[in-house]
């Protein structure tokens, strides 16, 4: 029956919304992030896993960077006053629908939620990994400095610059025709726990032992990690001598080493300027993985060349372009795993 429904365009009435009945901590509205304002001190924000965000939007026929929900802790309970096509991506969530004939909600697949239905995302299948939920038409909060992303530190963007809470109403834009039928979808990417990186501006200021340690030891993700940065645990890194450097612009992916010697990988909500020595920077094609490292698991840094970094970035862009073509021609997998 879901297939039949997707044949007809679901028309969102003007002022369509989805109601938040219950909400765990730190569910936020995110898009591709805020760019071009770092010189004013404005952080990037945006989906930590922009690949997952684009996958979900592509399935629904949304613009690739339409605003989605980023969810890390359950439960999230949403009530749909009207029919709505949705797509989940990133790390999976144990989900339940209260409709009797409802199909299971799978990451990378389109589902049609019916008017009056309640959707419950209970908990992440991998604790600490993030899930993305896109809605046909996208979440239509106002843009602030060119983005709908929530900046929780500065308190703007998204819904009043904060995480969602019970009672919120998410405005939904004009519905698009899902490009993929319900029950069909794509395979989500799996994080490798390997972060390819280039040496940072202060690499040579670290002891030779520390340079070797950076690339050789497993780094455990600390519980103090968040959207500003992932704190790592391991054998502390040491400088040859104390560096007293003036503050300089920093970017998500920079691996900073504060005085305790334990690295922090800056993430999307990081401040724009910092003063700690930078031993490395993670290549852009691997940044999406930062969304999916549960505290307590380990990651490795792997040294690559600039050419490899550029090639990885080009491959990722090609993957997304190819995905767009495959989705447009419905050459995607059904839930059972066979290709149509």
């Amino acid at each position: 029956m879901s297939d039949a429904l997707t044949e007809a365009l679901i028309e969102n009435p003007v002022g369509a919304f989805i109601e938040v009945i219950r909400c765990g901590a730190l569910t936020t509205i995110q898009d591709a992030g805020r760019h071009g304002f770092r010189h004013l001190g404005v952080s990037q924000t945006g989906a930590l896993d922009p690949i997952a965000m684009q996958q979900a939007n592509l399935l629904l026929g949304n613009a690739p960077d339409a605003a989605v929900l980023e969810i890390s802790v359950g439960p999230l309970v949403l009530h749909f006053p009207q029919d709505c096509a949705i797509a989940m991506s990133g790390s999976g969530f144990a989900a339940a629908r209260n409709a009797p004939d409802a199909t299971a909600l799978l990451p990378g697949h389109v589902s049609i939620i019916h008017s009056g239905e309640t959707l419950t995302l209970n908990k992440p299948l991998i604790p600490g990994a993030r899930c993305y939920l896109a809605f046909s038409g996208g979440i239509d909060v106002p843009t602030v400095l060119g983005s709908r992303s929530t900046d929780m530190q500065a308190g703007f963007g998204g819904l009043e610059g904060r995480a969602l809470q019970a009672g919120d109403k998410l405005p939904i834009g004009a519905a698009t025709q899902p490009l993929v039928k319900a029950g069909r979808g794509i395979r989500p990417l799996s994080p490798s726990h390997i972060l390819r990186a280039l040496p940072g501006p202060d690499y040579e200021s670290f002891t030779t032992d520390s340079q070797v340690l950076l690339w050789s030891q497993p780094w455990r993700i600390s519980h103090q990690s968040n959207r500003m940065g992932l704190r790592l645990k391991g054998t502390a890194l040491q400088l040859e001598q104390t560096l007293d450097q003036p503050s300089a612009g920093v970017l998500p992916g920079d691996v900073q080493v504060p005085p305790d010697g334990l690295p922090i990988v800056l993430a999307n909500d990081a401040q724009t300027i910092g003063g700690y020595p930078r031993i490395a920077s993670v290549i852009r094609a691997d940044l999406w993985q930062l969304a999916h490292f549960p505290p307590g698991t380990s990651v490795y840094f792997v040294l690559v060349s600039l050419q490899e970094a550029i090639a990885a970035s080009a491959r990722q862009a090609h993957y997304l372009k190819r995905l767009q073509e495959l989705v447009a021609t419905e050459q995607v997998f059904s839930a059972s795993g066979s290709c149509k």
């Binding site: 963007g157 003036p246 852009r284």
Partner: protein, 245 residues
């Protein structure tokens, strides 16, 4: 495991002193450090030259494919818009050459910029640490207010929070080490001193600086056409506002 990393060598050396240090941040960003190694703060003339460089780059932002142009304290971070094709390397090399050529040819901006006056309610509830600063510096509260509001400050750059200005020009007599225990929340608009710097907090945040007053001005409002009240190169004056009766 190799530790001999050729790609970390400075990309370009220029014959002119001081030689800027150029480094890569992943494949899409460049950091230019113009201060001498070991210099912890830029001089005003060096920063003025940086502002002139930024202005020159801003005027060619689209042409150079620049997504971010972020001046820091005596340094500059540039991020290019997209790296999804293999001409990135050439594009970044060209950009590096352009920036270094530009740096060698620009004259420091000698304009004082706009002058922004910030009314401050000093002391009392608005400035709970004024007496701490007085005790540390040996100056009276009134003398601290007089000295703080007599200064002409320059906005070196913005960062840390939206609209947070790194100001140069604090009277050295007012310097005080940061609090041993940071406050969990410093209210928006707080005027504070930490080390040899003074600043205004655009939004509430934790912090270890000493709060000597508060302004009612909004330092950052994303709905304004110019969201930040202060921008790099501006001159700032603080004036003592009358306390609310």
């Amino acid at each position: 495991m190799t530790t001999n990393i050729a790609s970390h060598e400075p990309l370009v050396a220029t014959p002119l002193a001081p030689t800027p240090r150029v480094s890569r941040l992943a494949e899409d960003a460049l950091l230019f450090q113009f201060t001498a190694a070991g210099e912890s703060r830029p001089t005003l003339p060096l920063q003025q030259r940086l502002w002139a460089l930024v202005e020159a780059l801003e005027s060619r932002r689209a042409e150079l494919g620049l997504l971010e142009i972020v001046p820091g304290m005596g340094n500059l971070l540039l991020r290019v818009a997209s790296t999804d094709n293999l001409s990135t390397q050439t594009r970044i090399d060209t950009l590096t050459d352009h920036v270094l050529t530009c740096w060698n040819s620009v004259s420091p901006t000698d304009s004082p910029g706009r002058t922004i006056t910030i009314p401050v309610t000093y002391g009392g509830e608005a400035g709970p640490d004024l007496q701490t600063v007085a005790a540390h510096t040996g100056l009276s509260g009134d003398a601290i207010i007089a000295r703080h509001s007599a200064g002409l400050y320059r906005v070196f750059c913005l960062g840390f929070q939206p609209g947070f200005a790194y100001l140069g020009g604090l009277d050295p007599a007012l310097a005080i080490p940061r609090r041993a225990t940071p406050r969990l929340s410093i209210p928006a608009g707080s005027v504070a001193i930490g080390g040899n710097q003074t600043a205004v907090y655009p939004s509430a945040s934790p912090g270890g600086w000493h709060i000597i007053g508060r302004t009612a001005l909004m330092l950052f409002d994303p709905s304004r056409e110019q969201p930040a009240l202060l921008i790099a190169g501006d001159t700032v004056r603080f004036v003592a506002a009358r306390s609310a009766p």
